[in-house]
Structures are given as structure tokens and as C-alpha cells.
């Protein structure tokens, strides 16, 4: 019945190609050929055909800059439904891409007369909306040690991955770019949301005694000024450029080769029974991301106290507000020794250990515990 109907339509109108569904990058739209001769459709349904045979009959290709018949047809599956030849692409059709479908009746089983039928499908991209911005670059301060190790670039929206290093530059005081300052990784360092990009300065030019540093010198030099520039051509995950470029200017001080020493931290104990924050003042700024994760608080029994961390004052102040009121008595601030400062020095271990200096002893335990006593309210 369906075959006969299709046969009739075919005889009247000839084959035509249409899109069934929407091109939105998400939905499973299909491309259909209607009006195929019923005998051929039945033969297609009953036979077993490989990809080459199917694509000879119906192929959907991306229309590129170059005209190339050798361009492979889209991956997908073919079937006959009610006399209609249906191509279901393996992946959702993408917005902004032009697709050309070609149906060639001469390649149908037994061959049919008629010229190839062509149709193009295209869902244009919405006009570029440059809304994403660089919200912040850590470290926040504008005086950095000569052996500064990395930057975190925080965006307001998920960004495009791949080719990111094209969009960052480090300019010297003369406005000229510093040559190859960054560690460029094929596998770029993003957080799971694609909103935070980690940018390492080339460690080969930071570490002493390595050829890159000895031959071309360190990336940053004490006493000089630099500007980190993030180009607005960097696109968000939707393909839109940034609203504006971002610049962070800073001067460079001496290298910091000292391990982090929690003995130098100043703790302001909170009031027992209150939810006021524990405030920890750090004599030098520490890594913003690690301050969120590698410092925490336990009660006297060692149970982790749930609460929120806030880092401020150019990463020299760590505040912890508990979800519930502070108990009276002793609590502990715990620090994982993997905590880093701006130059990658850890607790008890500098970034570079001079093995000929025996004074630098390494901390054995993984975490360090700093006790504090919650304050009693005045009577």
C-alpha cells in the first residue's frame, strides 16, 4: 500500500529531498528523499547495502571552501520508511555549516532515469554576540616574583578549546612580545566548565641550570614591567568573540625561593557560638585555586567542618565561614603541603631544592595542623 502510494507520488512529482527536523546542533534531524520509484525502494529495503553503495545513491556532504568530490559523506545510517529513503546523520547537524545532499536515481537498484537531485540545508549562526569577558586573572597583585609560575584566566562563559595560546601574549615594557614565554600544551589546561584557563610560564626558563634558561634567559626579569594581553578574538564555546581584550600589567620583583611556612600565618580566632569567619593572614600571596582546596578546618576530634572559603586581599587573606556555629575550645586549620605560592614553592619545600644545601629539609607528613582556640564572648 505504502509502496504503491510512494510510486504514485514519484511518478507525479519525481524525487525530492527534504529535511525532517531542525538544525540546532542538538536534535537528530534526518534527510529524506521522497518520490522514489516503489520497486527501487522495495529493493533498497530488502537488500543489504554498504556505505559506499548508499552514498552513491544519497550522500550528504559539508560544503567547504574548496569543491572536492572526494570529501567524505557524513557518517550516518540509511533506511527506507514507508517508501521514503531516510538518512539519519551520526551526529546532530551543526548550526552555521552548509550541507549539500545529492540523490542520484541512476545508482538505485536496477538504475532509474533522471538527473541527480540536489538540495542544500543551512541554519545560519545567530549574529555574533560578544558577551563573554575575562572576569579576572590570578594572581591579583601587580608585583610578581621573577619566578612566577602560572596565571589563571577566569572567563564569564565557557570558551573554545584548542589554539588558545594564539590569543595570549606577554608584552615587555617596550610593547614588544616576549618570545615563547608560555608552556604550550596540546592538551590545554581547563577546568571542567571550560571557564578557567591555566597558563604556565615555561618552567624550562624558570628552573636554574636548564639549557633554555641559560641560553635565552628567564621569561620575567627583576625590575622590568610586563603586560599580559588576552586578545578579544578568543571565542567562547558558541563561537562568539570576547566583548573586549584584557590587559594585566605588572612589575617584577626578586625571585621567591622560600618554602611556605605556616608558622608565619596569623590566625584571628572566631567567636565560639558565632558563624563569624576564621581569618588567616598570609605574609605572601598563595595560589588562588589551591587556597580554595588545600586549606580546611577540623574540630577537636578531627572532623572536617563544613563551610565556605573566601580568598581576598590579593590572595593574602583566607576566610572560612562555617555552616554551623563554632564550637567552644580547640579547632585545627589543616594545610596540605602541596599548597603553592606564586612561584610554586610548597609548604616545607621550595620549588627548586638545592641538593648541596643541607638546610632545606623536606617535610615528611602530607598535611600540617595549626591549632586555634575559638574565643569566648565577654561577659
Amino acid at each position: 500500500m505504502h509502496v504503491l502510494l510512494a510510486l504514485a507520488v514519484g511518478l507525479l512529482d519525481g524525487p525530492s529531498i527534504r529535511l525532517d527536523g531542525r538544525i540546532d546542533g542538538k536534535s537528530n534531524a534526518a534527510i529524506e528523499v521522497r518520490g522514489i520509484d516503489g520497486v527501487a525502494a522495495a529493493a533498497l529495503m530488502e537488500g543489504s547495502w554498504n556505505r559506499e553503495e548508499w552514498t552513491a545513491i544519497l550522500a550528504v556532504r559539508v560544503v567547504g571552501a574548496k569543491k572536492d568530490d572526494k570529501t567524505p559523506a557524513l557518517l550516518g545510517s540509511y533506511r527506507i520508511v514507508d517508501g521514503v529513503l531516510r538518512f539519519e546523520p551520526r551526529f546532530p547537524l551543526a548550526v552555521g555549516v552548509r550541507y549539500r545532499a545529492v540523490f542520484d536515481p541512476s545508482k538505485l537498484p536496477g538504475g532509474r532515469e533522471g538527473k541527480p537531485v540536489t538540495a542544500e540545508f543551512h541554519q545560519p549562526k545567530p549574529a555574533a554576540r560578544a558577551t563573554a569577558v575575562v572576569q579576572h586573572v590570578y594572581p591579583s597583585r601587580n608585583k610578581l616574583p621573577e619566578n612566577q609560575l602560572k596565571f589563571y584566566v577566569h572567563f564569564s562563559a565557557p570558551m573554545t578549546k584548542g589554539g588558545s595560546y594564539r590569543h595570549v601574549q606577554l608584552l615587555g615594557a617596550n610593547g614588544k612580545p616576549v618570545e615563547n614565554p608560555f608552556l604550550e600544551l596540546d592538551e590545554e589546561l581547563w577546568d571542567p566548565d571550560g571557564k578557567r584557563f591555566t597558563l604556565y610560564l615555561d618552567p624550562g626558563r624558570i628552573k636554574r641550570g636548564l639549557k633554555p634558561r641559560e641560553e635565552v634567559g628567564p621569561v620575567l626579569e627583576e625590575g622590568k614591567s610586563y603586560t599580559l594581553v588576552i586578545d578579544k578574538q578568543w571565542t567562547d564555546a558558541e563561537g562568539n568573540p570576547l566583548r573586549e581584550s584584557f590587559r594585566k600589567s605588572f612589575t617584577v620583583g626578586p625571585p621567591d625561593d622560600e618554602a611556605i611556612d605556616p608558622k608565619t600565618w596569623k590566625l584571628a580566632a572566631p567567636l565560639a557560638g558565632s558563624r563569624s569567619p576564621l581569618v588567616v593572614r598570609l605574609p605572601k600571596p598563595l595560589d588562588n585555586a589551591l587556597l580554595q582546596r588545600l586549606l580546611w578546618v577540623t574540630d577537636a576530634e578531627g572532623n572536617k567542618v563544613p563551610g565556605d572559603v573566601a580568598v581576598s586581599e590579593e590572595e593574602t587573606c583566607w576566610r572560612f565561614r562555617p555552616d554551623k556555629s563554632w564550637p567552644a575550645g580547640v579547632c585545627f586549620l589543616l594545610a596540605d603541603k602541596a599548597l603553592e605560592d606564586l612561584a610554586g614553592n610548597n609548604i616545607g619545600r621550595p620549588f627548586e631544592v638545592d641538593v648541596f644545601r643541607t638546610v632545606q629539609r623536606e617535610l615528611k607528613q602530607e598535611t600540617l595542623r595549626v591549632p586555634f582556640r575559638t574565643r569566648q564572648s565577654q561577659p
Partner: protein, 360 residues
């Protein structure tokens, strides 16, 4: 204990032959659909098993490709405009495509590619291979036998370890990575078949510059090489030197210092490498970001010992190397068979091609 191999990085190929047939039970692979969140570096194990590093999902998958029929590698393989062809196959434009890695199945000689289709939330991992007609086809990931090893930081909110290289060496899948937060240096060895209990504790890798300044040193890429009967990893650090690390030292929780065997020049990043034998000698072929493809001799690699005294003025230990002038803009290379390699490279106009070459 696996049988010791005389020549190294035939490692993967040789292992496929020497390990004998592994049944499904032994590999602990189960039928299903691997929940790959991303497809980064890849490596082949025995019996057509493909290891896929998934940095986004913080995991390594072992996937049975079913590609187990011994075959001759296609030494005439050449595909021009590879990126355009892949983009068309996947129905996207070039900007939406990332080609992450290339490897060869040593059993069949077929070339596999690890791909990201799309950006942001819609990014989809895809594994493609090149069939005997030199056409690209997708490796189906539905209802395949697979196993998954989760890396320890899978549950962290923002911290991720970018997987820089994966390699299967004598029953162990080695994974190198670099964290997006701490300058850590974990190299994990995960015994295969994967066991629930062993997630592969990391080994901290250090580098001693001139024996004096010791730092943690994340590894960018590595390959296996047997030196006087002892399996070593030849590893390129993110801070450039090429080092050797005996596999026997890679014990979970240990701290290991690599011995510098070559300095490959500044402003340069090694991208991809393997060891091969030619005319009775072993060489390392290395693709670099800025200094082309190098053929490094392994002569006297066994004699290079750790430097215990400081050397001033940029003194370096070093294997000798030649730069292969004809090979330009090579981003990935893999051993195709005993006489050939396959390269993934870019032309001057930026389009990607894939080419089989005779080993230099």
C-alpha cells in the same frame, strides 16, 4: 612476569605476539558503552585493545577494537586534507575539530585517530580509523567490550589533570599528566587488566639540573626502551630535557629522578616519539614543536649516569642527533611497521595531512 624483550619499543607490537591470546575474562573487559567524556592521547595494548585517555572524565578506558586480524601496514598511505575530510565526515566545519592523537594498531597495521567533535558542552569524543581502502571510519563505541580505570582526582570540582601521554609497557598502562592547579609530576602505572583496587598510585618524577637544583618535573611524552636488559621510560619533561627512568623504580608513592640523556634545544617542545631499529642500531624518532623531527642515536645511552656534581656553564650530557630536513611541521608520529612510520603533519597553508614514510 612478562617475558623480557630484547629491543624496546617494538614493545607494543612484540607484546601482542608474546603475550598470547587473552580471553575476555583475562582482560576483564565487559560489553557495554564506555562513558567517554573526551578522547585525548591513545595507545595500543595487546590483541587490538585500545587505551583511550579521557582527561575530562579523569579516566583511562581499555576498548576492544575487534581489529585483531593480522595485516600488513599500508606503507603507501597518504591522505591530504585530512582535517577537512574528518570535518566533513563528522558534519562540522574545521573550527569545530580537534585531532588529539594518532596511533597504529600493531596487529593490523591500521591507523587510529583520537578526535574531539565540537566545542563546549556539545564536544563529543570520536575515535576514527583508516580502513584498507584508505577511508576514514568510526570505531563504534556502542556495545563494545571495555574496561575503565578511574584516575584519583575524578571527583574534584575544578582540578583536572590533562593527560599528556598514555603508553602500554609490559602489562602496565603508564599515564602522564599535568594538573591545571598544582605543578605536580605524577606518572601513574596502572596494571592491565584493570583491577578495581588498583587505580595506579602516582610516582613523583623529579629532575636534577646539573645534579644541583632538584624540581618536580611533569612529563610531556615518553616511550619505552630496554637498555641492557632493563626497561626504561625515555621521557621528555615539560621543561625540555630528555631523560631515562628505569621502570623498576616506578613504584607507587616513590620519588624518582630521571637521568638527562639529551637536551633538545630551547624554545622547543618534544611532541611525540618512538624507538626503532635500523641496521642493527636503535634510534629514537622525535617530533618537536620548533626543531623538526630528530633521529636520535642511542649509542652509549647505557653509559650516561646521573650527574652528581654541579657543572657550571651549561654543560650537558647528550645523545647525538640528526634533524630530518624533509619532515616539516610534524605534530604526531607513530611506528607503522618495522620499516615505516606514519606522520600527522601540516602543510604551509595549515591543512593537515597523514603520510607513511620510510624510517630514516
Amino acid at each position: 612476569m612478562q617475558p623480557r624483550l630484547r629491543i624496546a619499543l617494538a614493545a607494543v607490537a612484540a607484546l601482542a605476539l608474546s603475550a598470547g591470546a587473552l580471553c575476555a575474562e583475562e582482560t576483564r573487559l565487559k560489553k557495554g558503552t564506555p562513558d567517554l567524556k573526551s578522547a585525548g592521547p591513545i595507545a595500543f595494548g595487546p590483541e587490538g585493545i585500545l587505551f583511550v585517555g579521557d582527561p575530562q572524565g579523569a579516566a583511562v578506558f581499555a576498548i576492544d577494537t575487534g581489529d585483531k586480524t593480522p595485516g600488513k601496514a599500508d606503507s603507501g598511505l597518504k591522505i591530504e586534507g585530512l582535517d577537512g575530510k574528518i570535518a566533513s565526515l563528522l558534519g562540522i566545519d574545521l573550527k569545530q575539530l580537534l585531532v588529539n592523537d594518532l596511533q597504529v594498531n600493531p596487529v593490523s597495521g591500521k591507523v587510529y585517530l583520537s578526535i574531539t567533535r565540537g566545542q563546549g558542552k556539545d564536544a563529543t569524543p570520536v575515535i576514527l580509523r583508516i580502513n584498507q581502502n584508505r577511508e576514514l571510519e568510526e570505531l563504534p563505541l556502542k556495545d563494545v567490550a571495555f574496561a575503565k580505570a578511574t584516575l584519583p582526582n575524578a571527583s574534584d570540582k575544578q582540578r583536572r589533570e590533562s593527560i599528556t601521554h598514555v603508553e602500554f609497557v609490559k602489562g602496565v598502562v603508564y599515564v602522564s599528566g599535568l594538573s591545571n592547579e598544582d605543578f605536580s609530576s605524577n606518572l601513574r602505572g596502572i596494571p592491565f587488566p584493570f583491577k578495581e583496587a588498583n587505580k595506579g598510585a602516582g610516582v613523583e618524577i623529579y629532575h636534577g639540573a646539573h645534579g644541583q637544583f632538584e624540581t618536580r618535573s611533569p612529563v610531556r611524552t615518553f616511550t619505552a626502551y630496554d637498555i641492557k636488559g632493563e626497561t626504561n621510560l625515555l621521557a621528555a619533561y615539560q621543561c625540555t630535557p630528555l631523560v631515562k627512568i628505569p621502570v623498576s623504580q616506578l613504584k607507587p608513592g616513590e620519588k624518582v629522578k630521571g637521568t638527562t640523556v639529551a637536551e633538545l634545544g630551547n624554545m622547543n617542545r618534544p611532541l611525540s616519539m618512538f624507538v626503532y631499529e635500523k641496521g642493527g642500531k636503535d634510534y629514537i624518532l622525535i617530533a618537536n614543536s620548533a626543531r623538526g623531527v630528530m633521529k636520535v642515536t642511542t649509542d652509549e645511552i647505557d653509559k650516561i649516569a646521573g650527574i652528581t656534581n654541579p657543572i657550571r656553564g651549561g654543560g650537558t650530557a647528550g645523545l647525538k642527533y640528526d634533524t630530518i630536513k624533509e619532515l616539516k611541521k610534524v605534530e604526531r608520529l607513530a611506528r607503522l611497521d618495522k620499516d615505516h612510520a606514519v606522520i600527522l603533519a601540516k602543510t604551509d597553508d595549515g591543512s593537515m595531512y597523514l603520510n607513511a614514510i620510510a624510517l630514516p
